[in-house]
C-alpha cells in the first residue's frame, strides 16, 4: 500500500508540474504584461526598466525556476485588473466558494443517493420513471438558467429569499463564514440548490445504473437463493457494492463543483473565486487565471488522492497485497 501512495504522490507532482508549466507559459507568452501594466503610451525606457524589474530579460529556465519557486509559495504577482496581490485576492474569496461547494455537495448526496436507490429498486413503476425524467431534466437545464428561474420565483415573485451576495458573515481568523448567521443561511439556500441540481441528477443516475448492475450479479442471485430478506439483499449487499464506485465519482465531483461554482457565483454575485475568475477571463487578467488554474489543479489532485485512499479503506480486494491461496 505504501508503494501505491508513493506512486500516486509522484503522479500528483507530475500533474502539478505540468499545470505549473502551462500557467507559466500563459504568463510569458499570452499577452504582454508590460503593456498591460504600463499602458500603450509607455516609452521604450520605461518598458526596458519594467522588463528588467520583472526579470523578463533573464533566460527561460531561470524565469521558470523563479515562477515555480514563487508559485509554490502562493506568490503570483499582481492582478492586472485590480493591482492587488493575487494571493490575497484568492485567499479572500476561497472560503465563500468552499462553503458554497460543500453545501451543494451535501444536498446532491443527501437527495441524490436515496432517489437513485429508489429508482433502481422500484424500476418500472410510475414513481421511478418520474424520478428518472426529472433527473434528465436536471442535466438538461444549464446551471445558470436554474439560478435565474429560482431567482425569478423566490426572489422576484415570492420575495422569500435574497438573490445576491452572501449576507452577514462572521470572520474566524482568516476564514469568513456565512454559516453562523441566519442571514448567511438565507443567502446560501438558492445558490447551493442551483449548484447542486446538476450534480444531484448525475449522482442519481449513477447510483441507479450501478445498483441495477449490481442487482444482476451472481452474488445477489445467490444471496436471494439463500433466502435472505429483501432488506438484507438490497441494503446490506446491493447498496454496499453500489456505493463503492459511487464514492470515487462523487469525490471527483467535488472538484467539478468548485469549477461549476463559477457560473453560480456569477448569477448570484456570490463573492467567491469563481466570480473572480470570470472577471479575470473577461479582462484577460493572466496572473489571476494562472493562479486559479494552479489552485484548482491542487484541489483536484488532493481530492483524487483522498478518494483513492478511501477506496482502499472500503474495498477489501485492494487492501491485501497477496491473496492467501491454498488448495
Amino acid at each position: 500500500m505504501f508503494a501505491f501512495v508513493l506512486r500516486r504522490l509522484m503522479q500528483a507532482v507530475v500533474v502539478m508540474a505540468t499545470v505549473g508549466f502551462l500557467a507559466f507559459m500563459l504568463f510569458q507568452y499570452v499577452g504582454d504584461p508590460v503593456t498591460s501594466l504600463l499602458g500603450q503610451d509607455a516609452t521604450q525606457e520605461q518598458r526596458e526598466a519594467l522588463r528588467k524589474d520583472l526579470g523578463l530579460d533573464q533566460p527561460f529556465p531561470v524565469q521558470f525556476a523563479r515562477f515555480a519557486a514563487n508559485a509554490v509559495q502562493g506568490e503570483f504577482g499582481l492582478s492586472l485588473r485590480q493591482g492587488r496581490k493575487v494571493s490575497s485576492l484568492i485567499a479572500e474569496r476561497l472560503p465563500a466558494t468552499l462553503e458554497l461547494a460543500l453545501a451543494a455537495a451535501v444536498i446532491a448526496l443527501v437527495v441524490g443517493v436515496p432517489l437513485g436507490v429508489y429508482a433502481a429498486l422500484r424500476r418500472g413503476t410510475f414513481g421511478s420513471q418520474a424520478v428518472m425524467t426529472l433527473s434528465l431534466l436536471g442535466v438538461s437545464l444549464p446551471t445558470f438558467l436554474i439560478g435565474i428561474l429560482l431567482i425569478l420565483v423566490f426572489s422576484v415573485q415570492l420575495k422569500w429569499l435574497p438573490s445576491f451576495g452572501r449576507g452577514d458573515t462572521v470572520s474566524l481568523g482568516g476564514w469568513t463564514t456565512g454559516l453562523l448567521t441566519a442571514d448567511g443561511w438565507k443567502h446560501l439556500i438558492l445558490p447551493s440548490i442551483t449548484l447542486a441540481v446538476f450534480q444531484l441528477a448525475l449522482i442519481l443516475r449513477l447510483v441507479r445504473a450501478e445498483m441495477l448492475e449490481v442487482l444482476r450479479t451472481d452474488y445477489i442471485k445467490f444471496a436471494r437463493a439463500r433466502g435472505l430478506t429483501d432488506r438484507a439483499v438490497h441494503f446490506g449487499h446491493a447498496l454496499k457494492n453500489t456505493l463503492v464506485p459511487v464514492i470515487t465519482i462523487t469525490g471527483l465531483q467535488l472538484g467539478s463543483l468548485i469549477a461549476f461554482a463559477i457560473i453560480t457565483e456569477t448569477v448570484f454575485q456570490w463573492p467567491g473565486m469563481g466570480f473572480l475568475f470570470i472577471q479575470a477571463v473577461q479582462f484577460a487578467d493572466i496572473p489571476v487565471m494562472a493562479a486559479y488554474l494552479c489552485l484548482i489543479a491542487l484541489i483536484f489532485v488532493v481530492v483524487n488522492l483522498v478518494v483513492d485512499l478511501l477506496y482502499f479503506a472500503v474495498d477489501p480486494r485492494l487492501r491485501i497485497e497477496r491473496a492467501v491461496s491454498a488448495h
Binding site: 444471496a223 437463493a225 439463500r226 435472505l228 480486494r317 491485501i320 492467501v324
Partner: protein, 343 residues
C-alpha cells in the same frame, strides 16, 4: 402391444417424494410470441436421493432448477403444472413464504464460485447472516456453526479463514465456501447447477465427492444439473435426460448409461469417447437441438432420430415404461417386452 403412458411421474421406492414436479411448463413471452422453454416436465426426487439432470446447453435444465427455487428471471414465468415440496405446493406461494423456504428447505449452488460470493464481506459474515436469517441462534452460536461448516467442507484453518474475504480463496476453496453457505440452514433439498463446470478438472472430483458426502450426512437430496456424464456416473442415484425442454428418459444411473432406451440417450452415451481402442472420428449425433421457436411437432427428437417412424412425427410420446428406465419414445412401447430380457 398396448402402450401405457404413465400419467404420474415415476416414483422411486421411498414413500412420499421430497420433491415432486408435475407437468411443469415455463414460458417466455417475447415480442415475437411466447416461447415454451419447459414443456410438460414431470419428475420426483426421494428423500436422500441424488438425481442428475443432464442435457445439452439450452435443454432447460437450469431453468427447471430456477423454477423450483422460485427465482425465474422475468419475463420467464411458470405457465402450468405444480411443484410440491414434501407434499405441499410451492410454485404458487407468495414471495415472502417462498423466501423463507429458500435456504431453509431448498439450498442452491451455482456454477461460478468466482462471482457467487459478495467480494465486500468476509465469508464469516456471509455465513452467519444466512444462519441467523433462518435459525434462531445468537451471534456466537452462529459463528460456531459457521466454523463447523467450513471445517466440514474441508477448509483448513477454518477459525482464521472465516474472517477472510472471498478473493483470498482459490476457486476450489470458494466453491467449498459456497457449498457451506448452501448447507448453512440445513436444507432438505439442494439444487446444484453445474457446480464443477468452472473448476479445474483436478478439483472437480474433490468437490463432487464432498457434495455427495455432505448430502448423505445431512440426509439431504440433491438435484444435480450438469452436462458432464462422468459426474453423473460418479455421483447420482438416478438421472433424467432432458432435450428441448422435455424429459426424454429417466431411470437409475447404471441403466440409463449402459442400457439407454431412448435414441437420444443412446446417442449421448455413444458420443463419449472410450479410452480403449482406436478411433478415427468422434461419434456425433447428426443435426442440432431445435431452437425454442422451431420445435418440431410430435417427438422433438424425430428429425435427428435414426429410428424415426411416421408416428413420431405426429404424436408426442409421454414417458413410458421401458423396463429399467422410463423413456419418451414410441419404440419403447413396441420393443418393451424384448428389452426385459436384456437390461
Amino acid at each position: 402391444m398396448a402402450t401405457t403412458p404413465a400419467p404420474a411421474p415415476p416414483v422411486s421406492a421411498a414413500a412420499t417424494p421430497l420433491l415432486e414436479v408435475r407437468h411443469l411448463r415455463v414460458e417466455f413471452p417475447t415480442r415475437r410470441g411466447t416461447l415454451l422453454a419447459i414443456d410438460d416436465v414431470s419428475f420426483s426426487i426421494a428423500p436422500g436421493e441424488i438425481l442428475g439432470v443432464v442435457g445439452e446447453s439450452g435443454a432447460g435444465k437450469s431453468l427447471t432448477g430456477a423454477a423450483i427455487i422460485g427465482l425465474l428471471e422475468p419475463p420467464g414465468r411458470i405457465a402450468g403444472g405444480e411443484i410440491l415440496l414434501e407434499g405441499r405446493r410451492i410454485d404458487d406461494l407468495p414471495y415472502e413464504q417462498m423466501r423463507r423456504l429458500r435456504g431453509r428447505r431448498i439450498g442452491a449452488i451455482f456454477q461460478d464460485p468466482l462471482t457467487s460470493l459478495n467480494p465486500l464481506y468476509t465469508i464469516g459474515r456471509q455465513l452467519t447472516e444466512t444462519i441467523q436469517t433462518h435459525l434462531d441462534v445468537d451471534a456466537a452460536e452462529a459463528r460456531r456453526r459457521a466454523i463447523g461448516l467450513l471445517q466440514a467442507t474441508g477448509i483448513p484453518a477454518a477459525e482464521q479463514r472465516i474472517d477472510q474475504y472471498p478473493h483470498q480463496f482459490s476457486g476450489g476453496m470458494r466453491q467449498r465456501v459456497v457449498i457451506a453457505l448452501a448447507l448453512a440452514a440445513e436444507p432438505r433439498l439442494i439444487v446444484a447447477d453445474e457446480p464443477t463446470t468452472a473448476l479445474d478438472v483436478s478439483i472437480q472430483a474433490q468437490i463432487i465427492a464432498l457434495l455427495k458426502r455432505l448430502a448423505r450426512e445431512h440426509g439431504a437430496s440433491v438435484m444435480l444439473v450438469t452436462h458432464d456424464m462422468g459426474v453423473i456416473a460418479e455421483t447420482c442415484d438416478r438421472v433424467a435426460v432432458m432435450y428441448a425442454g422435455r424429459i426424454v428418459e429417466v431411470g437409475p444411473v447404471h441403466d440409463v448409461i449402459h442400457a439407454p432406451a431412448h435414441p437420444y440417450t443412446a446417442g449421448l452415451m455413444g458420443s463419449i469417447p472410450a479410452m480403449d481402442g482406436e478411433r478415427e472420428r468422434l461419434a456425433q449425433i447428426e443435426g442440432a437441438m431445435p431452437r425454442l421457436n422451431a420445435i418440431p411437432p410430435g417427438c422433438a427428437y424425430h428429425p435427428r432420430c435414426p429410428h424415426v417412424e411416421p408416428r413420431c412425427r405426429a404424436e408426442r410420446p409421454e414417458l413410458m415404461d421401458a423396463g429399467a428406465t422410463h423413456a419418451a419414445c414410441w419404440r419403447v412401447a413396441a420393443v418393451a417386452p424384448a428389452r426385459e430380457g436384456t437390461a
